[in-house]
Each structure stands twice: as structure tokens, then as C-alpha cells.
């Protein structure tokens, strides 16, 4: 992460110096930082609301039921995560929310899942197999209906805004399938975690 972030800054500044965009860089860096804070404030509300609801669902046993329905999938994808663990429940919630396109519900559950996964391991600063696999699946983003895109399309006068749903489902399935193949191959042939 340090190299990734550092690299982004270094490359950005050096390239800007070469192309004479340094002024724009300063403005943009500050504008983006400000944008991050307002995004975070917006997110705080959504996050508090959603995690609050999740707590109700959790105590009412709904999360457990959803997670056990997802159980076989979780066991297949992430064999290193213990069955019926809190981590597994959050992972299931994250995946279901992503699938339904509830991005604002997916992120809190995903972050909670990462925290639980971290508690399962001893190493402090290295990602576990489960973390890597979980994120790869998450980033491959299996989504049922791309609501935002449909809305933009209708706004820009598409004849049939939802016409992209079919190809989108196939494309998103292919990317998730690629992710599954990747993590399964890695689990089969990868080095054993130290």
C-alpha cells in the first residue's frame, strides 16, 4: 500500500513537472482532499444508518439466516474462513449487498468483514489469503442491475435505457468468473501461507 500510494504521488508530481501542470496539481490535490471530507460526511450518515439496521437484523437472526444460505458459496470461495464466523457473516452481507447494487450497504459490511478477518490472523501488516480472495471477488463486482447507469442512460435519451442490463449481467458474470478462477488456481498452486 505504501508503494502504491507513494508511487501515485511521485508519478503525478514528476509527470506534472514535466508537462507544466504543477499549478493544476496543487489545486486538484486540495480540492480532492476537500471532496474526500464531504464524501466522508455523507457516508457517515449512510454508514451509521445502515450499520444500525444491520445490528437489528443481526440480533433478530436475519443476518445468520442470510449467511447460512450463503454458506456453501463462502466455503467454496474462502476455505480458510471458519464456518459461522462473524467474518463470514459480514462477507455474506457485503456480497449480497453488492449483488443487489446497494453500494452504501456493502462498504460498511465489507470493512467490518476485513476487521474480523484481521482478528482471525496473527500477522499484523500482511493480508491473509482470505482478505486477498475476498477483495478480488469484491472488486470483480457481481451486480444484478446497474441502476445508476440505467438512470444516466434515460437522462441522456436512450431509446431503451435498460437494454444494457443483459450484456451487463453477462460481462459482470465473466469478470467474477475470472476472479473465481484466479483465486481457485492460486489456492491450488500458490505457496502455502507462512
Amino acid at each position: 500500500m505504501n508503494y502504491l500510494w507513494g508511487g501515485m504521488i511521485l508519478v503525478g508530481v514528476v509527470y506534472a513537472a514535466m508537462t507544466g501542470n504543477l499549478g493544476a496539481v496543487t489545486d486538484q490535490a486540495l480540492a480532492s482532499a476537500k471532496e474526500a471530507v464531504s464524501l466522508c460526511l455523507t457516508m457517515t450518515g449512510a454508514m451509521a444508518f445502515w450499520v444500525g439496521l444491520m445490528k437489528i437484523a443481526e440480533k433478530g437472526g436475519m443476518v445468520n439466516r442470510a449467511a447460512s444460505a450463503m454458506g456453501p458459496i463462502l466455503r467454496f470461495l474462502f476455505p480458510s474462513v471458519p464456518e459461522n464466523s462473524t467474518a463470514g457473516r459480514y462477507m455474506a452481507t457485503n456480497m449480497v449487498s453488492n449483488f443487489l447494487g446497494l453500494g452504501w450497504a456493502a462498504t460498511p459490511a465489507g470493512i467490518s468483514a476485513m476487521k474480523e478477518l484481521k482478528r482471525l490472523q496473527k500477522m499484523s501488516n500482511q493480508a491473509t489469503d482470505a482478505m486477498c480472495d475476498f477483495l478480488i471477488i469484491n472488486i470483480s463486482s457481481l451486480q444484478l442491475i446497474p441502476v445508476n447507469i440505467i438512470a444516466y442512460r434515460s437522462q441522456y435519451g436512450a431509446v431503451s435505457p435498460a437494454a444494457i442490463v443483459g450484456p451487463a449481467i453477462i460481462a459482470t458474470s465473466i469478470s467474477t468468473l475470472a476472479a473465481v478462477i484466479f483465486i481457485k488456481l492460486r489456492q491450488a498452486f500458490g505457496r502455502v501461507e507462512k
Binding site: 508530481v13 508537462t19 474526500a36 437489528i56 446497494l102
Partner: protein, 174 residues
């Protein structure tokens, strides 16, 4: 189409109703439970704020420096040989960093080429089947203070590339 939009609008309210209704049926202290969860939600949101600031500033720098355009141009030359539409390269590259910036580019494509053009449709499918790799990785890993991300990036890039190729292929073949 209207049904789909209606359903996606209704999903969240129905979910809220189910959760609270189920809680009441189980005689839970729903409001207290809610407050307990909300508290930890706020804590998480505040904890990832520095991560977000650092990340978005870095993405902003990268974008303002023109480096992303440079990469797109370079990739475009390489990909032109394979018949991949060059107009879509910036969308694919930017989407890896920032969803809102990619949406901006998508709307540009709608304006110039039309929402129903091949490019418009391919870009739509592409954005719906890919995720902001660097943003997601940073937020998730930073929230647990993980520094070594091991094979996450190659795996994520592999899945995303598959999605991008599939999007273009699907739209061009149909």
C-alpha cells in the same frame, strides 16, 4: 424498464421494513440496537476519513498531472492493433481510480456519440461490470492497517480486464 427502476427504488425501503418488522416481532429493543450499530458505523466512517483524504488527493494529483491521459494514450496505441475502441480506454483506466470521474467520461461519451451508440452502450456495460480497484483496495486494506496486499492487485486487474474485454465484445457482437 419502468418495473426495473421501480423495483430498484423499492429494494431499500422494503429491506428496512423487513429488518425493523422482524426485530419488532422478536420483541427486540430495535431502537437501542439501532443506536448501538449506528455508533460503530460512525466510528468506522471517521476512521476511514484519513484514508479517503490521502487516497483522493493522490488520485487528484495523478489526474491533474495528465498522467492518466498519458497512460490512456499509450494504451490506446497498443490496443488499436487489437481493434479495441480507443475512445473507451480513458473510461477503463479512470474507472480503476475514481467512479465519479469515470461517470463524467461516460456522460461525455453519451453527449458526443449518443447513449445508444456502440460506444455509449459498451461504456455503460463496462462501468457496470467493473469496480474502482485502487479506491476499494485502499479503503478496505487501510481500514485494517494492512500494508502487504500480496496478490490482490494482480487478481483484481485480471478480473477487471476480463470484464472490460467482455463488455466490448458483447456490445460489438450484438
Amino acid at each position: 424498464m419502468n418495473l426495473i427502476l421501480y423495483l430498484s427504488e423499492a429494494v431499500i425501503p422494503i429491506l428496512v421494513l423487513l429488518i425493523v418488522g422482524n426485530g419488532l416481532m422478536h420483541r427486540q429493543h430495535v431502537y437501542e440496537d439501532f443506536l448501538e450499530g449506528a455508533k460503530s458505523g460512525i466510528r468506522t466512517a471517521v476512521e476511514i476519513m484519513p484514508t479517503l483524504i490521502g487516497l483522493m488527493a493522490a488520485v487528484g494529483i495523478l489526474r491533474a498531472s495528465g498522467f492518466l491521459d498519458f497512460i490512456s494514450g499509450w494504451l490506446g496505441k497498443v490496443m488499436a492493433a487489437t481493434g479495441f475502441p480507443t475512445e473507451l480506454i480513458p473510461v477503463a483506466v479512470v474507472k480503476m481510480f475514481s467512479s465519479s470521474a469515470a461517470t463524467g467520461l461516460l456522460l461525455d461519451i453519451y453527449k458526443t456519440h449518443g447513449a445508444d451508440s456502440m460506444l455509449g452502450r459498451a461504456a455503460s456495460v463496462m462501468l457496470s461490470s467493473t469496480e474502482t480497484i485502487f479506491y476499494t483496495m485502499s479503503v478496505y486494506f487501510m481500514s485494517v492497517k494492512v500494508k502487504k496486499t500480496r496478490y490482490t492487485l494482480p487478481g483484481a486487474l485480471f478480473a477487471t480486464t476480463a470484464g472490460i474485454v467482455a463488455s466490448v465484445f458483447l456490445v460489438w457482437k450484438t
